[in-house]
Symmetry: C2
Subunit: 340 residues, 2 copies
Amino acid sequence: MRPTTKDLAKAAGVSLATIDRVLNGRSGVRQKTVDAVNEAIERTGFQRNQVAATLARQKGYRFGFVLPRTGDEFLDVIIKHISEFDQASRAEMIATKVVRIDDHDPHRAAKTLSRLSAEDYDGIAIMAPETPQIRDALYRMRERGIQTVAFISNQQEEGSQPFVGIDNIAAGATAGRLMARFLGHTTGSILVLAETMQSRDSLERRLGFDKVMSREYPQFDALPTLETHGTAERTRLVLANAFAAHQDIVGLYIMGSEARVAIDLAQNLCGEEKIITIAHERTPSTEHALRAKTLDALINQDPGHIIRSAVRTLRAQCENRETLASQERIRIEILIAENL
Amino acid sequence: MRPTTKDLAKAAGVSLATIDRVLNGRSGVRQKTVDAVNEAIERTGFQRNQVAATLARQKGYRFGFVLPRTGDEFLDVIIKHISEFDQASRAEMIATKVVRIDDHDPHRAAKTLSRLSAEDYDGIAIMAPETPQIRDALYRMRERGIQTVAFISNQQEEGSQPFVGIDNIAAGATAGRLMARFLGHTTGSILVLAETMQSRDSLERRLGFDKVMSREYPQFDALPTLETHGTAERTRLVLANAFAAHQDIVGLYIMGSEARVAIDLAQNLCGEEKIITIAHERTPSTEHALRAKTLDALINQDPGHIIRSAVRTLRAQCENRETLASQERIRIEILIAENL
DNA sequence: CTCTTTTTGAGGTGCGTACCTCAAAAACTT
DNA sequence: AAGTTTTTGAGGTACGCACCTCAAAAAGAG
């Protein structure tokens, strides 16, 4: 039988009240006593029964997913998965809510964050660009006792909060390797498309992509990143210009959003010689393109896994436990038509 | 506030005892009353609080993972993950144990299964070849009230129990597509290696592989499957013979175990012209080969996901709930050196 | 209608923890 | 040493459900 708090109290030679104080980090306990309890925990191998604990806490866990207000199809997919998760985990007393912030106005975004109270949230997972305002808002949030985790988009301040998402440098490298291998023995230029190079994610993907391409495949010329600013018009414009300026385009790497427009357009612009196209994130559009063979491969991070991992991570923080790093690593998925 | 059993009793116009009888499928309740309670469940949107339920049940859940006694590196990986999971989920009152069965002696295997009692296991996940003996043993097991789920290797009898694992036809097709795309414009023969073609998994993978190759890439000649019987000697033998008989081998698809030996050997036998090699399942060996570029791609099913999914599925059965199919789909992962 | 069987109700206990109160003990202060 | 503050103990309630018993009510059989 696993030891209970009662057993632990006996083993430590203190009362249940003291055990409770130590276990839940309440004040008013001498260090000496804390040490004695911790020693007893070690000795007896006590593990708090989370099932009983959450039942007793009564108010399960409430987590917020902070997402940008503007976004692409991928964001819709994320939101859909969050609400699915919310449904499925209500029986486990975990509630998840989506909070939107102004991604183009850091001040307003920070203000929205500052309004999130510890009364309403035990933790939040945030997907946002890294600005000083947001960094500070997150810092104050943690001071208020709300756990935080960066989510899909990493924040600079490593160490202060965990990150759940893929390694974007590796993701870029993966795209690069696939691009080169699919191209085989041809040579030519490769277009690289991003929403904006202001974002850390795009920078990292490009870095990884170039690392593979320039070192191992000098026969290809990866052109400077084209920025779409997330609009269809500009995507059309920059792509048309690029195809006009370069006659030898053999590949297209779409790092960011607006994949749909780019894929369709590239189909028309490239002539009879098919170009190899690789994009990120599975959405209805990219999935369709993969099936239609207008897209050759998709680099994906599974939204379901990310969400579950973010919640596990937040919950572990709330209960100040460690997480198994190996369980929380988000895979860089390669999707082709056959393994959709 | 979510309705509790008490609220439900009031809503259905019955007592708590009756609610308990219906909810836990006990006998001695008229159908009319059962219907009334179910109607009230619908109407009030009652959802049993699993946290409280498992606490009250006192004896968490005990699940067994039935694995073959003999096996390759992949099996070791699975076992490692099961014990990791066991550690991590003890706080959630879920205990998992590994049970080994004689995979070469169906009678002994069935006997081992018949000894698993409902006293000790709430459910078992089984990875075993499909034989009549095992099928019957599983049937009787379910009659004893032990939930079952097929795991990695599917059993024929679809419908009678869920399956957690990948679609092996799709996995084979994925391997085929990658093989063809990596080979590019060359032509030649492709070797296909399996432990045995007796197993359904190998048959399905081969089926998927051929579907892609023969229909879309007639320039390649996928040779008949070579069987290694899981031994290093025989692997060496069949491979050496194959390379002697065919001078135009350009690809090697390793569907089953003994990947390590096959990869190393193929390296030596193929001469200066590198052949494209694709294998299944991530293990220390295959991972190393991928890094060393002696392996071009790996088709993988994540053991961690499979185990968690199997446990979620078993637990849902115990609580006779439905599972979200979308959450339980096991991905066919494509691994290359960059996204390890 | 009576007798038997089946179905239902009322009530209780316990799971392991959180969280609360109040008093008692121990530790510091001056 | 007396007073003040800090630390600890004892005890309780609650969470939502499982599981148990025993008696009462209802339904069915003859």
